[in-house]
Symmetry: C2
Subunit: 96 residues, 2 copies
């Protein structure tokens, strides 16, 4: 069973995820990504999908043309967990 | 410029899209698809992405694990157009 982060862990994690926003409904992280066009946006989604499947932890996400909105939360933990933090970092690393 | 469907055209189109729901905000079509798992859901999304790019008409869509929600609307037409109907049919054909 994966645990929800406590306040200390949460603060430390967010300090290293400056591109992500802490959200409360659901308790988790969100980030908007904007690309040149649909091809670039969906290419990015495909890379994230492979990361997510490998981690067995999946985003809640939406796409409209060149925009991708990602929410990370852990249902089994009832909120933000280390899995979300790890996936957020892995997603950021795709764009570095 | 692509035109919004009139009431007659709309009724005829919807008669052949029994799996889709007419929505008003935005004016368009929506359908929910449920798959065995994330792999199957994202595989379907990839096929739809290729259709959409080929048609140069893109869905507004979201995915949570095995579920894909698609909305089709035509911003240039201010609502439901023939492009949405054609893409809905092409998406349905993927699953036949």
């Amino acid at each position: 069973m994966i645990a929800r982060l406590n306040e200390d862990e949460r603060a430390k994690a967010l300090a290293h995820l400056s591109n992500w926003t802490a959200i409360t409904d659901p308790d988790g992280l969100s980030r908007r990504f904007t690309f040149a066009d649909f091809n670039a946006a969906f290419g990015f989604m495909t890379r994230v999908a492979i990361l997510a499947e490998k981690a067995d932890h999946h985003p809640e996400w939406s796409n409209v043309y060149n925009r991708v909105d990602i929410v990370l939360t852990t249902h089994d933990a009832g909120g933000l967990s280390q899995r979300d933090v790890d996936l957020a970092r892995a997603i950021d690393a795709l764009l570095e």
